[in-house]
Symmetry: C2
Subunit: 559 residues, 2 copies
C-alpha cells in the first residue's frame, strides 16, 4: 500500500458513538470501571453471584434448584463441556455433625459459621451455574490463625474442604463437588502495607483485585494483572489459579511478580514465606508450589506482590489483516518496533467480529464492513504521550506499506478506545447469547495456533459456529464453539479431538483457566506421566489425608 494511502486510512477515524452498557444489569452485565493503566473506561464482566458473606442472593434464574443441593451428594449433571465425568464421594471423608459446628462456632463466633440454606447455596454454585455442590457449611475466618485452626481440625477429623475466593473460576475449582466444607476468604480483605519506593503491596488473600488496583493506582502504581472478573475475584484466588489476563504480555506471569506468600497447610501449619524481597536465593523457592495449585496444596492467606509504576500514556489501535500469516508477522513487527511500550496484542477472527456486531448493544466496527479475515487490537502503554503516539503511528504506517495490515484506525479519544476493547472483551458475552458455548482455553505455538480453529470448522461443518480469538502475544487461543442448543453429538465431535490435537502440538489444554474439576482427568494431554506422578507425590506429602479441594487438579487414579 502506498505511504500516502496508508496515512490517509490511519487518520480517517471520526468520533464513533459508543453506548455504554448500564450499571446494575441483572446478569452478564458489564460494569464500567476505571481502567487501571489509562484514564479511559474499560468494561469488566462482573459475575452476578453474591458472596455468602453478603447475605441471600436476590438474583433469579441461575440458582434454580439450589435448594436441592443438600439432597443428593452427587456431581450434578453438567450442561455441557468436559465435566460430565462422574465421581463417587470418597467414603473416607467424615460427614459433618453438630460437634463440628459447635467447634467452628467456638473459634469463629456465630457470624463466622454460615448454615443458612440460601447463603450456603450461593457458595455451592459457580458463577456460570455449571458446577453445583452440596455443602452444608460455609466458614468465614478473619485471621490466619482461624484458618489454621479450621484446617487443623478438619485434617484431624478428615473433613474435606474447599477454599473459596471470589468464585469466578471457569473450571469448577472453587465450589464443592459433594459436601465439602467451604472456607470463604472474603473476611480476610485487609491491605497490610505498601512500599511506595519499590511498589510492593502486602495484603490478605480475600482482597478483591479491583480494590487493590484502585489502592495502588492512588499511589502511582498498577497491579501486574488485570482480568475481566476483577470486580469480584480475590487476589488469593488469582494466585491459586495463576491467573493470566490482559497484562501478561507486558508484565508476565505471577511466578515472576509474586514476592511472598503466607499459606496454611492441610494440617494447620502456617507457612510464612511472606517476604517483600525482589531477590532471595536461600533454599527452595516454595511459594511457587502454591501459585496455580488451585487450593489443593494449601490455603493462601497473605500475599506480597510487585506492582509496576503507573505510566501516563495509553494508545489503542484496531486493525485488520487479510490472513493469519500477516497477523503473525505483525506481532513480530510490534515486538520489534513498539518494544518496551507494547501492552496488548489481541486477535479475533471475522466470525468473532460478526457475532459481536450482531449481539453486543451499542458496539460498532470501527473499520468499514469488508471481507477482512482477521482483526488485531494493539495497545501501547508508556511514559510519554507524544513519543508513544509517534512510535505507534510510524509502526502502523510501515505495517500498512508492508501489506501486513489491510486497514486500521487509532483511537482518538477514550470513547473510541473503550469501543475497541468492548469488541474484544464482548466476544464471550456475544457467544453466550447464541445458545450453548463449548469453551476451550489453549496454549499453542503462534505458528500453529489458528490451525485448530480451521480444522474444527471443517469437522463441524454447519452444525456449529467456530470462533477463534485470544491473547496472540502470549500464544493463548480462546476457542469457542457455539450452537443454538447443547448437543452431545457436537461435544463428541469436539472432544477428545481438541485435546489430542493440542497434545500432539505439545500445547497446553489449559493456558490460564486451570484444571479444576473440569479437566483434572485430562492432565495427561499436557503433562508427562512422570510429571503427574511427581505432582501426586507432592500432593500426598503436603496433604496426606487429601482434605484440600478433593477431586480436582489431579486425576483420582494417581492419588
Amino acid at each position: 500500500m502506498p505511504r500516502r494511502e496508508a496515512a490517509r486510512l490511519l487518520r480517517r477515524l471520526g468520533p464513533i458513538a459508543v453506548q455504554s452498557p448500564k450499571r446494575g444489569m441483572p446478569h452478564n452485565q458489564y460494569e464500567s470501571t476505571n481502567h487501571a493503566v489509562n484514564s479511559y473506561r474499560r468494561f469488566h464482566w462482573i459475575p452476578s453471584v453474591q458472596h455468602p458473606l453478603c447475605g441471600p442472593t436476590s438474583s433469579g434464574g441461575i440458582y434454580e434448584g439450589q435448594r436441592s443441593a443438600n439432597k443428593a451428594c452427587e456431581v450434578q449433571k453438567r450442561t455441557f463441556g468436559s465435566a460430565a465425568t462422574q465421581f463417587q464421594r470418597n467414603p473416607a471423608y467424615s460427614v459433618l455433625n453438630s460437634d463440628d459446628i459447635a467447634y467452628f462456632k467456638s473459634i469463629l463466633g456465630e457470624n463466622g459459621v454460615v448454615q443458612d440454606e440460601d447463603r450456603v447455596a450461593v457458595a455451592n454454585v459457580d458463577w456460570m451455574g455449571k458446577y453445583r455442590g452440596a455443602s452444608q457449611l460455609v466458614l468465614l475466618p478473619k485471621t490466619t490463625t482461624e484458618v489454621s485452626k479450621i484446617l487443623s481440625y478438619c485434617n484431624t477429623k478428615r473433613l474435606a474442604v474447599v477454599p473459596q475466593g471470589g468464585n469466578t473460576g471457569l473450571v469448577g475449582g472453587s465450589v464443592p463437588v459433594f459436601d465439602e466444607v467451604i472456607v470463604g476468604l472474603a473476611g480476610m480483605n485487609k491491605i497490610i502495607s505498601f512500599d511506595n519506593v519499590n511498589g510492593i503491596l502486602t495484603c490478605e488473600a480475600g482482597c478483591v483485585l479491583e480494590n487493590l488496583s484502585t489502592f495502588v493506582e492512588n499511589e502511582g502504581f498498577i497491579m501486574p494483572l488485570d482480568l475481566g472478573a476483577k470486580g469480584s475475584c480475590h487476589i488469593g484466588g488469582n494466585i491459586s489459579t495463576n491467573a493470566g489476563g490482559l497484562r501478561f504480555i507486558r508484565y508476565g506471569s505471577l511466578h515472576g511478580n509474586v514476592l511472598g506468600l503466607e499459606v496454611v497447610l492441610a494440617d494447620g501449619t502456617i507457612l510464612d514465606m511472606l517476604t517483600t524481597l525482589r531477590k532471595d536465593n536461600t533454599g527452595y523457592d516454595l511459594k511457587h508450589l502454591f501459585i496455580g495449585s488451585e487450593g489443593s496444596l494449601g490455603v493462601v492467606t497473605k500475599i506480597s506482590v510487585l506492582t509496576p509504576a503507573k505510566l501516563s500514556s495509553t494508545n489503542v489501535a484496531f486493525l485488520s489483516c487479510n490472513d493469519y500469516t500477516s497477523c503473525q508477522k505483525l506481532l513480530l513487527a510490534a515486538r520489534r518496533s513498539l518494544g518496551e511500550i507494547l501492552s496488548a496484542f489481541e486477535f479475533m477472527d471475522h466470525h468473532c467480529i460478526d457475532l459481536a456486531m450482531q449481539h453486543l448493544e451499542g458496539v460498532q466496527n470501527p473499520l468499514p464492513a469488508s471481507p477482512y479475515k482477521f482483526y488485531v487490537l494493539v495497545e501501547t502503554t508508556g511514559s510519554d504521550e507524544s513519543s508513544d503516539k509517534t512510535k505507534l503511528e510510524a509502526f502502523l504506517l510501515r505495517s500498512m506499506e508492508d501489506g501486513l495490515v489491510a486497514d486500521g484506525v487509532i483511537a482518538q479519544d477514550i470513547s473510541q478506545a473503550s469501543n475497541f476493547w468492548r469488541i474484544r472483551e464482548g466476544i464471550s458475552e456475544a457467544s453466550v447469547k447464541v445458545g450453548a458455548v463449548y469453551k476451550y482455553d489453549l496454549s499453542i505455538t503462534v505458528e500453529k495456533l489458528y490451525d485448530i480453529v480451521e480444522e474444527m470448522r471443517c469437522r463441524l461443518g454447519d452444525n456449529a459456529e467456530v470462533l477463534g480469538y485470544g491473547h496472540l502475544g502470549d500464544g493463548n487461543l480462546h476457542l469457542n464453539i457455539v450452537s443454538s442448543k447443547y448437543d452431545d453429538n457436537i461435544l463428541a465431535q469436539i472432544e477428545p479431538f481438541v485435546y489430542e490435537w493440542t497434545s500432539a502440538q505439545r500445547g497446553s489444554i489449559s493456558a490460564e483457566h486451570g484444571l479444576g474439576l473440569m479437566k483434572a482427568e485430562k492432565i495427561h494431554y499436557s503433562k508427562s506421566p512422570e510429571a503427574v506422578q511427581l505432582m501426586a507425590s507432592i500432593k500426598k506429602l503436603l496433604d496426606p489425608k487429601s482434605i484440600l479441594n478433593p477431586y480436582k487438579v489431579l486425576p483420582q487414579s494417581v492419588l
Copy 2:
C-alpha cells in the same frame, strides 16, 4: 540547583581516555565482549578456571596444592568467610571402585570418563580457589539418557554426585566437598531450536551464557539475564542457582522467564517439562522446584527460555548524590520518569569509587573529585534513540533541579559508557587487590539497605574498609569488607552480626549467590523453621538417598 546550571553540568562531559584491559591476562582479567543490548563494549569477568573437558590447566597459582586433593577426604580449610564449618563425610555413601569406573566407561566411552589427576583437580576447585574437594572422577555425558544412566547407577550404588556447570559460583555449590563424583555438563552444549516469532530459545544445559547471547542477538533478541561470569557460566547453572545479574530490574527473575525444563531426578527418571509455552496452567508448575535448588533436587539437562526483543538504543548516566535518601528518591523518580526504558540502577558509595580509582587500570572518575558520598549508574534501553535520550536528559535535569543529583554526566559515546560500567563492575576486582575480602550478598528493603554498611563501619573502625554497592533497583546490597590480610578477629566482628541484622530486617542472607556449602547452615536466618522443614521433606521425596550435591543448601540437621 537552577535549571541553567543543571543543564550546563549535564552536558560538560568531554571524551574520557579509557584504556581497555588487554585480552589474555592471566588471572582476574577482563575480557571485552559485545554487550548484548547495545553496541558498546562492556567488560566481563572471565574466571581463569578451565573446564576439565579442555584438558589440563596451564594457569598457575590457584591450583597449588591440587595434587593433594585426592589425599584427604576432609573439607579444606577456608581462607575466610562462613565456610569454616567442618563436616564429616557421610559414611553411608559408597567409595568409588573399579567396577564403577568400568560401568561408566561402558555408557560414556573412554573420553567421557576423566581420571587424569590434573584434569580432575581443576574440577575439584572453585574459581576463587576457596573451596576444594577430593573427587577422583569427572563424568562428561553428552545426552540426557547418559545423565539418566549415571544417576540411576549412582543412586543404586549410593555414590554421591556433584553436578557441575561453568563452576563460577561464589558459595562452593559446584565443587565436591569430599569424594563425590563430578558430573560435568559441558558436553551438552547444543542449541535445539529458536522460535524467532516469540523469541523462545530451547537448548541444552551446558551452553555457555555468552554463546547463547551471541546466538539470540543475531536473531534480534537478547538473553533475559547478563552476568559478569557470562563467558564461562552455563545456562543450566544459571537456572540451578536462579542467577540474578544486571538485567533483573528490567526483565525480572528466571522464575518468570524460564518456560520449560528437562531435569533428571536422582533415580534417573527423566522429567520432561520442556514446553515452550508462555502460559500453561495444567497442574503444579514443577519446574520452579529446580530453579534455584542448586542441583540438589535434580540435574537440569535442557531449558527453554523467553528472550526479549533486542532494542536499539542504550544510554548510560553516571551521577553523584549527597546522601542515601537522595539515592532512594532518585530511584523512585527514575521508575516514574524513565518507566519502561529503565534497564539498570546501580549504586556505589564513595569508598568503592576511591578503591576503584586506586586499583583499576585505565579507569577514571568522570565526575570531578568532590566530597560526594554516593554514586549512581543509570542505564536506559529502548527502541528509539532520540526520544530515549530526550527522556533521560529531562529526568536528570529535573533531578538536579530537585537537588536529588549533585552532579552527573551522560556518556556521549561507547567508550565513555564502557568506562562508567567498568567502574561499577570493577569494584569486586579492586577490592581483591587490597588483600582479604569478606563478601556478603544481601537483600534488604531499599530504605534500610545502607544502614548495615554504616553499622558495620562503626563496628570495625580502622580494622577494615567497608564497601557498600549493588543493584539498588532490586534491593540487593553487595557488602564487601576489605582488609590487608585475613583475620579471625575481623570475621568474628562481622559474623554472625551481619546475618542477625539481616534476619531482623526480614532480609535475605543470599540475594543471588545461593547457599551452597558456605551458607547451608545459615538458612534459618532467612527462612522459617516450617519452610526449612518442608524443603527437607521435598529433598527426601525427590532424592531419598541424598546423592545429589550433598552437604549443601540445607542444614545437615534437618536431613
